[in-house]
């Protein structure tokens, strides 16, 4: 396998690493906001995976332009899916933050272990 061929997988490796970094924050951090930040990295990694597969060598964004001979377009479908997924991510995040704010008000802390101790 040549170096260039390996390079073709680099995006997927970054996806795997970002996924791991995000999940690590979710699992190991006790601070609830840090967990949410980790969750958003985790989701972003998936976005990267989807968008990576849409690319076609030498292609352009899938907007059809008149007068271009034999146009090559990248795949529009993963882009549509990720547009939806980004919205879902933001929605989850804002709901989670609202909960964290209420937890802070009710418990006076946003550290998970201190919350467990309080009950």
């Amino acid at each position: 396998m040549t170096f260039l061929e390996l390079l073709g997988y680099f995006n997927y490796w970054v996806f795997a690493i970002l996924l791991a970094v995000g999940l690590y924050a979710v699992i190991s951090k006790t601070n609830l906001i840090k967990k949410l930040i980790g969750l958003s990295i985790f989701q972003s990694a998936v976005f990267l995976m989807y968008i990576t597969m849409d690319k076609v060598e030498g292609g352009t964004a899938p907007i059809i332009q008149a007068g271009v001979e034999n146009p090559v377009f990248s795949n529009p479908l993963p882009q549509v899916l990720i547009l939806t997924a980004i919205v879902v991510g933001v929605s989850t995040l804002s709901l989670g933050l609202a909960m964290v704010v209420r937890i802070k008000e009710c418990y006076g802390t946003i550290e998970e272990n201190e919350i467990l101790d309080a009950d």
Binding site: A16, K34, E57, A61, V72, S74, P76, V80, L83
Partner: protein, 326 residues
């Protein structure tokens, strides 16, 4: 050449992600998250996903950061150092990453035109969009018509988030009495940001409207437009004070936008049904099916824009209006 650039950006992305997780000051984490989003947006752009890049920049780097900062103002921005559990987590996620990396060697390579994804469904969209919709942006065509049902779902996800935040933050904070309400005046006494803001906000909103109505021809559409306009109004709120922003666009109007946008989208579907088509089959809306598609897409994009803009602003105000309890 562009791939070398992408290589650099992706490496930077990983470094930023690790820095985000390591930073103990949550404020630093949030700002780094913004940088992370921008890098991600540039990557999306390099990978030919202009619409997604626009959304990630407007939402990930714009609105999300503001909501995070509002929440941080309420919860405090220092993370407490922790003692145990990190090793186990590190082992688990390393295994996960290695499994994925191992499996990627069977994936199609980046940019391979023979990959299965480019053979089956997608070419049909590229071929049929000019015929059925007669406009150039295939992403918009799929988003609002071919897979319009997903987008309807997406609008209701946003709607759910909006009513959720209003519901959860709808109870008044305990021990409110000890707080003396400080009138939030924004950056009113700062002349320079205010003047520049006044200059820019109309253009931001204008650009939002352009994105809304030009979505069939270039990158953009209801979602990006909603997020951009919301960003403009949030900037106004930061400069002139939250009360001033609420006087311009009151809460009831915002909620009305969310509900109205969601209903507008749904009712287009129902009208299609009544006129003899399937749910969300816009072709029946006009005598000429192409016209029907264009009309339907215009209306539902407006619905998406309204709902998203209203929801993001409602969420922002719900956080911003809350007082900190210490």
């Amino acid at each position: 050449m562009i791939y070398i650039f992408a290589l650099f950006l992706l490496t930077l992305l990983v470094i930023t992600a690790i820095a985000i997780v390591r930073a103990e000051d949550l404020f630093v984490s949030v700002i780094l998250t913004t940088i992370f989003s921008l890098l991600m947006a540039i990557n999306f752009f390099i990978l030919d996903a202009a619409d997604v890049a626009l959304t990630e920049a407007a939402v990930g780097a714009g609105v999300t950061t503001v909501i995070f900062l509002c929440a941080l103002a309420l919860t405090g921005d220092q993370e407490k150092p922790q003692k145990q559990g990190q090793k186990v987590a590190l082992v688990i996620v390393s295994i996960l990453a290695l499994v994925i990396i191992y499996s990627t060697f069977d994936n199609p390579q980046l940019g391979d035109p023979d990959a299965p994804v480019h053979q089956h469904v997608a070419p049909w969209y590229l071929e049929k969009t000019p015929e059925y919709m007669d406009f150039p942006n295939v992403v918009t065509a799929i988003l609002s018509s071919f897979r319009g049902y997903d987008t309807l779902g997406e609008v209701f996800v946003v709607f759910a988030a909006c009513i959720g935040v209003l519901f959860i933050l709808g109870v008044s904070p305990p021990r409110k009495a000890m707080q003396v309400s400080v009138k939030k005046s924004g950056l009113r006494h700062h002349l320079i940001p205010q003047v520049v803001g006044r200059l820019l906000i109309p253009f931001i909103v204008l650009f939002g409207l352009y994105t809304q109505f030009h979505g069939e021809y270039g990158p953009g559409g209801g979602f990006q437009a909603g997020a951009l306009i919301a960003t403009g109004v949030i900037l106004f709120a930061l400069l002139e004070g939250e009360a001033e922003a609420l006087r311009a666009v009151p809460r009831r109007v915002l909620l009305g936008m969310v509900v109205g946008g969601a209903l507008l989208y749904g009712s287009v579907g129902v009208v299609c049904m009544l006129m003899g088509g399937a749910f969300l089959d816009y072709s029946v809306l006009a005598a000429d099916p192409v016209w029907g598609q264009q009309l339907g897409i215009l209306i539902i994009e407006a619905g998406v824009g309204m709902a998203v803009c209203g929801a993001l602003l409602s969420i922002f105000h719900a956080f911003a209006a809350r007082e900190r309890v210490s």
